[in-house]
């Protein structure tokens, strides 16, 4: 799904042209720590800021990018230098004109340690410097070739901010961009209110709607309880909600007066990563046994009512370089096989509870439970996995841990056997993020399986640097096969953005990251 998904919806909606005006309340889970996209990492920030900030480029397909604030750009110096020509006549909400200076300011702000960037900085790790060539020409230099750079620039976390606003002290930061809506207020843990930017004239390429947005006000209501959020929609308190609980989604479809849309998120699926450096899981047979002992498909189907596709690959279908054939290497559900492997691995004896034992040690795996990170009933899914692993004789412990401990003791300390993560980002480069030996969490990466495979490293590096699509494609698919063969990862499901709108709402589009875009949205009768 991409921007075009949105057009379908507006197409579907019964006749009558768009009407301007009105206030749209969109209820979302999770809350806000900062509205500065350069600082915050939370999805909500991206969702909101997408409407405040424009990016230099827009992602128009799995691996295609179109102009936005940058009308054109060329890559030189072996992929180390990007020169952007900027759109003219654009002004920020605070009246500051949009110039090369703004781009430089934004990027410098992102990488400045004082910003304490949680995510954005990591997206453009190789960023060296930006140079203002002319009023509307900026040249960005990277330390090394880095193909995902354009993709990075297309996400809201790197949206272009008003240099004037950035000079303000952190305490009274207000997000000021060039986007279709301007920031009005932020009531902590309650809502963020945006207002129409009447002068808006810089939509991305391929946008369904040009010019100022129809809506007067756009309100993001924070409602963390799924059920409540759902109730808010059905009771008409909100015209749209993100993260529809799968359970209710099934019902919602049946209800009239509501339009429901599912957007599979690109990038890494929601996977279970097996720490291959530690304990029983050092043994590939045990890893594959675990993988084979879990009937992922059945669990996912019943918990998510078939709304979340069962994953059979670390990458989601909608990611470029996704290789469907890789699943043949996945140790999929097969209890007998699991038993066999475990016996083979020497875990033959059983204790009182039916758990397998090898020279006096029970086959126990630690899977820290970090409550704050829990969403989409992942805890329930985990209970299911626990129960099924138990049948195979594998004991899974889930110590509840708080953020501090989770990070320092587990993610960094590495005192875990299993850990579950999903990572949405529409580029195959996430494979590098997730499996390159250099990208352990401690090193700000996502390699939580602590994979140390020179081969995989070679593949991902090559894929990231080569400009030849074929090479990168084959490299990426080898990675997918390898990690499944080694069972470093047990794919669980592909997170799906389940959004629902009251039928009154039309013209909502979804960008490459599956964020709803309200620029073209309007309220019908």
């Amino acid at each position: 799904a991409s921007a075009r998904g949105g057009d379908d919806r507006s197409g579907r909606s019964p006749g009558g042209g768009p009407v301007a005006g009105g206030r749209l309340t969109y209820a979302v889970a999770g809350t806000q720590v900062s509205l500065d996209p350069a600082v915050a990492a939370t999805a909500v920030t991206g969702l909101i800021d997408r409407n405040v900030f424009d990016s230099l480029v827009v992602q128009t397909g799995p691996d295609a990018f179109g102009p936005w604030l940058a009308t054109k750009w060329e890559v030189s110096n072996g992929g180390r230098t990007y020169t952007f020509t900027l759109r003219e006549g654009v002004t920020f909400h605070d009246g500051t004109p949009f110039t090369a200076q703004a781009v430089k300011a934004t990027l410098d702000h992102v990488v400045d340690p004082a910003t304490k960037s949680a995510y954005a900085a990591s997206l453009i790790a190789p960023y060296k410097q930006a140079r203002v060539v002319a009023d509307h020409v900026v040249e960005v230099t990277l330390s090394r070739p880095f193909t995902p750079f354009l993709q990075a620039l297309s996400v809201p976390y790197l949206g272009i901010q008003s240099p004037a606003a950035l000079t303000k002290p952190v305490a009274d930061y207000r997000p000021v961009g060039t986007g279709p809506f301007s920031y009005v207020s932020w009531e902590k843990d309650k809502r963020v209110t945006l207002r129409k930017n009447p002068r808006y004239a810089s939509p991305p390429a391929g946008a369904s709607h040009q010019g100022a947005p129809y809506l007067d006000d756009l309100v993001f209501e924070f409602v963390s309880e799924d059920a409540t959020r759902y109730g808010a929609l059905t009771s008409g308190q909100a015209q749209g909600i993100a993260g529809v609980p799968p359970l209710n989604a099934a019902r919602l479809k049946s209800l009239t007066g509501f339009a429901f849309s599912a957007q599979e998120t690109p990038g890494l699926n929601y996977n279970l990563y097996l720490n291959q450096t530690r304990g029983p899981l050092k043994d590939v047979r045990v890893r594959r046994a675990l993988s084979a002992s879990i009937n992922v498909d059945q669990l996912v189907k019943s918990i998510y009512f078939g709304l979340f596709p069962t994953a059979r690959n670390p990458l989601s279908r909608t990611t470029a370089a996704y290789d469907a054939s890789a699943e043949s290497d996945l140790a999929s559900y097969d209890p007998a096989e699991a038993e066999r492997l475990l016996d083979e691995a020497g875990w033959t004896a059983r204790d009182g509870n039916g758990y397998r034992v090898k020279d006096g040690k029970t086959l126990t795996l630690t899977w820290p439970y970090w409550a704050e990170g829990n969403k989409e009933q992942r805890d329930v899914l985990a209970e299911g996995i626990q129960a099924q692993a138990k049948l195979a004789g594998i004991k899974i412990d889930r110590p509840a841990v708080d953020t501090g401990a989770f990070v320092s003791k587990y993610l960094i300390g590495g005192a875990y056997d299993l850990v579950d993560v999903s990572f949405a980002r529409p580029t195959p480069d996430v494979l590098r993020f997730a499996f390159a030996s250099g990208n352990t969490y401690a090193k700000a990466g996502g390699n939580v399986a602590l994979v140390r495979s020179p081969q995989i490293d070679k593949w991902v590096e090559e894929a990231a640097e080569t400009s030849d699509p074929a090479t990168s494609k084959s490299d990426y698919s080898s990675v997918q096969r390898e990690v499944l063969r080694q069972a470093y990862v047990v794919p669980l499901y592909t997170p799906v953005q389940l959004t629902a709108f009251s039928a009154k709402v039309r013209g909502v589009a979804f960008d490459a990251q599956t964020y709803p875009v309200f620029h073209g949205a309007w309220l019908g009768g």
């Binding site: 799924d226 059920a227 209710n248 019943s302 329930v380 626990q386 129960a387 138990k390 889930r398 708080d402």
Partner: protein, 292 residues
């Protein structure tokens, strides 16, 4: 958390009233029912195996079924038998409820006696400490403890203990004061008994008796507190079935499978109710009032 007993309880008067009101052999049917039910719950907590099997056996195919043959309470989102989970949930719930009350009772008694008989300085300190702990709501105390120790059954138990103990301490102190000033202790002194003897033979027994009743009534409060904690995800951790936690999960399925929220809740209410009713009856009987 503990409702303060407004007036200190006077064993002598109580005894007199009791003696005047002839023992009515059987208490009210309601009370009997309560006692019976509570015993049942205790049994379930002790030997859940007797009543149900495999609370954590998942069968995703049979998820979210309503009550039916084989699943009297239906099944949950993973197709686990809700009845089995409710039965197995009795243990952690009671453990937290009764356990914390017990600990708090013991600790509180010692504390209160210290406050009453420990001399001016020690007594003052002990009681001021109690005041401090009582100066904010018990649940907050519990939350604080959990925040420090992290969630889990054991920690929840400790948390609630700490929240209840000062209440007990205060009651015990008042009670001990009353008893110590009572004519029968005066009489014992006049007989030339040593303080130690008086403490052991007269004061402690007469202080503890009413305490037991207070405790029974408190079990209910503690159970609710425990359930609240795990409802907030700070109590026993999954997959161990616990009533509060089950409710928390059931919340997501309210309009699809509301029975999920029904049974654990009912379990809590009925258990607490039985404990409270039994406790009140005991109290009434002990104080000779007919239990209104």
């Amino acid at each position: 958390m503990t409702a303060p007993t407004a007036v200190p309880y006077d064993p002598v008067r109580a005894a007199e009233v009791r003696a005047r009101a002839p023992r009515h052999g059987l208490p009210r049917p309601g009370v009997l029912l309560a006692v019976a039910f509570f015993t049942l719950v205790c049994a379930a907590a002790a030997f859940p195996g007797l009543f149900a099997h495999a609370p954590d056996q998942v069968d995703p195919a049979a998820a979210l079924l309503g009550p039916r043959a084989g699943h009297p309470f239906g099944t949950d989102q993973l197709g686990r038998d809700v009845f089995a989970r409710v039965v197995y949930g009795a243990r952690p719930s009671l453990l937290v409820g009764a356990g914390s009350t017990l600990l708090a009772g013991v600790a509180g008694s010692a504390w209160g006696l210290l406050g009453a008989l420990g001399g001016r300085v020690v007594g003052e300190v002990a009681m001021r400490a109690a005041d401090v702990l009582l100066s904010f709501p018990g649940i907050l105390m519990a939350l604080l403890v959990v925040a420090v120790l992290g969630p889990g059954t054991r920690n929840a138990l400790l948390a609630i203990t700490l929240a209840l103990a000062p209440g007990f301490a205060r009651v015990v102190r008042v009670q001990a004061m009353v008893v110590r000033g009572s004519p029968y202790v005066r009489a014992a002194v006049n007989l030339g008994l040593t303080p130690a003897r008086i403490l052991v033979r007269h004061i402690v027994p007469n202080v503890v008796a009413p305490l037991l009743i207070l405790a029974t009534i408190n079990v209910g409060t503690a159970i609710i507190a425990g359930a609240s904690l795990s409802f907030l995800g700070l109590g026993p951790q999954p997959p161990d079935p616990e009533w509060g936690a089950m409710l928390a999960q059931a919340r997501d399925y309210l309009d699809a499978a509301w029975t999920l929220a029904l049974f654990p809740g009912a379990a809590i209410t009925l258990t607490v109710m039985s404990a409270t009713v039994a406790g009140r009856a005991l109290q009434a009987r002990y104080e000779g009032r007919d239990s209104r």
